[in-house]
């Protein structure tokens, strides 16, 4: 890493760490929600961008993790960390079952199946109001009893760093290679000796467990949990974040989630028109930058490198 890049990274890290003291409580809430969406979007990118399993039910696992932890803590009296760990495990196990169930499904069939699963879970959460509180919401024990939300920000940041680190490690290991091989061509992957069934189930389980963990964090932060967290609207937002950022790169997906979440709030004065803007942005991204706007921007930066090198005047050789 060059000194300028190192200095830039250090400055960015300082800004992120100082974020809670630099902004008012409203924008701190937006920052915490952006972190939540970043974990969800990165895990969806792992599933869709790397392994090619187009799930439209990812928010169902977020919702499952959220209700699992909330209910275990409030009804069973378990400590919050145990509740969050249980959310991670439950979402992972159910993700594996869903992954196994739809082994023979691809593309739109897989998307419809997973969306149906998510909707079924949302309707159950809505209907079983004696357990879940239904549309009125479930009161969830907060993680921290502080006046400031800063502890949530730092915990969220730690969860994001850990999730991203683990997922990045996976994508650069042989597992990542197998995920991409399955995305490219399942038949060829099987002929090359890749255990396609095992890795398809595995990627569903891993992505769902991160979604469940994010859901548990969200539940203990937001305080009142409603079934809407697993709605199709929310899933659409995550898709938009991943597509605009770049679904085939975890950091791009994370940045996409953060940028979109902040833009959604910054443009709130425009009401529903801001959603039209995001719809248009999504269409343009899919049409002109299928790897995401950030990936496109990064490519431009990489291309500019040699251009700058060429544009730099050549040093005259020292006179001998």
């Amino acid at each position: 890493m060059r000194p300028t890049q190192l200095a830039g990274a250090a400055l960015l890290l300082m800004l992120v760490l100082a974020f809670p003291v630099l902004v008012n409580p409203y924008w701190l809430t937006v920052g915490i929600l952006a972190i939540f969406y970043a974990i969800v979007t990165a895990s969806w990118a792992l599933l869709v961008g790397y392994a090619g399993q187009f799930s439209f039910g990812h928010m169902g696992f977020v919702s499952m993790g959220a209700y699992c932890s909330a209910l275990l803590v409030s009804a069973a009296g378990l400590p919050i960390p145990i509740g969050m760990a249980a959310a991670l495990v439950l979402s992972g196990v159910v993700g594996a079952v869903i992954g196994y169930t739809c082994l023979r499904m691809h593309g739109p069939y897989l998307a419809i199946f997973t969306m149906a699963f998510s909707e079924v879970f949302r309707i159950i959460a809505l209907t079983e109001n004696e357990i879940t509180g239904g549309a009125g919401g479930l009161e969830v024990t907060p993680l921290f009893h502080t006046r400031s939300d800063a502890p949530y920000f730092y915990l969220g940041l730690a969860l994001l760093a850990a999730s991203l680190g683990l997922m990045s490690w996976m994508t650069t290991s042989r597992w990542g290679l197998f995920f991409r091989a399955i995305r490219e061509n399942e038949q060829a992957a099987a002929a090359a000796g890749v255990k396609v069934v095992r890795f398809r189930v595995l990627v569903f389980a891993i992505a769902s467990s991160f979604a469940g963990l994010a859901g548990a964090f969200y539940a203990h932060y937001i305080g009142i949990l409603t079934p809407d967290v697993g709605s199709v609207d929310q899933m659409g937002l995550v898709v938009a974040m991943a597509v605009i950022g770049g679904a085939e790169s975890l950091p791009a997906a994370v940045i996409g989630a953060i940028v979109v979440e902040f833009l959604v709030e910054a443009l709130r004065a425009y009401g529903e028109w801001r959603l039209v803007l995001f719809g248009a942005l999504l269409l343009l991204t899919v049409r002109f930058a299928r790897n995401g706007l950030l990936a496109l921007a990064w490519e431009q930066v990489l291309r500019l490198g040699p251009v700058r090198e060429r544009a730099r005047p050549a040093r005259r050789p020292a006179a001998s």
Binding site: E184, N185, A188, A190, A191, A192, V196
Partner: protein
């Protein structure tokens, strides 16, 4: 006859159509066998069954004396059964080297260093070493066929099924593929080659198996098969 791989009374139906009927077919260690027949005779279906991509409706597949029918394709690959496809199937957006590393790292106890070294050796052998960083989709059709062969070689297969390796390949590359297969065969590898290019097949193989309408109609040396009345009838349609 027992062999390295053996089809015993294999039958497969797709709905009302019998794709392969009562096929008996064995390949011995170190053989180079050609599997030919008119379009729709069941050659690719046979290869798909013998490599685990299709499960036979009835009959057995014996690999080194053990029954393996119904196993998944990856388990066939793990047992040393490699293949290429009629229409080249690559990991298009992955690099040439990554295409090679997938089977290399799928093998148990493999390491990145060993897989990379082995991949580069095979790429050198196939004449693709200079292209290792390119995406597979950017290769020419012939180079893609070679890469697919290289990917199968990464399994260190005991038997290789090549499905139409000469289809859509220019004469120069066809000769190159023949040379490579001959070199690999000389090292002791076993091959089953399906193709319509009879001239190329006859240059390569020691034994020909002929299929027509899902059944084996001839099995013998190239000269014997060429004279076989049923084979002439199947090809001429008379």
């Amino acid at each position: 006859m027992t062999g390295l791989i053996e089809a015993v009374d294999l039958t497969l139906r797709f709905g009302g159509i019998v794709a392969v009927r009562g096929l008996h077919f064995a390949v011995r260690e170190g053989e180079l066998v050609g599997l030919i027949g008119p379009n729709g005779s069941g050659k690719t279906t046979t290869i798909n069954m013998l490599t685990g991509h299709l499960s036979p409706g009835s009959g057995h597949i014996m690999l080194r004396g053990a029954r393996v029918e119904g196993m998944s394709a990856d388990r066939f690959a793990a047992r040393g059964v490699g293949r290429t496809f009629q229409v080249t199937q690559l990991f298009s957006r992955m690099s040439v080297l990554e295409n090679m590393l997938v089977p290399g790292l799928a093998r148990p106890h493999s390491t990145h260093v060993a897989a990379r070294r082995q991949a580069r050796l095979h790429l050198e052998f196939l004449g693709l070493a200079a292209l290792e960083d390119l995406p597979a989709r950017s290769l020419s059709g012939g180079q893609q066929k070679l890469l697919e062969l290289g990917r199968a070689l990464m399994l260190e297969p005991s038997i290789l099924f090549l499905d139409e390796p000469f289809a859509g390949v220019n004469p120069y590359l066809r000769d190159e593929i023949i040379r490579l297969v001959q070199a690999l065969h000389a090292e002791g590898r076993t091959f089953v080659i399906v193709d319509h290019d009879l001239e190329a097949i006859q240059r390569l193989v020691q034994r020909l198996v002929v299929m027509s309408r899902g059944e084996k109609i001839a099995d013998g040396t190239v000269d014997a098969v060429r004279e076989d009345a049923e084979v002439i009838r199947a090809y001429s349609g008379v």
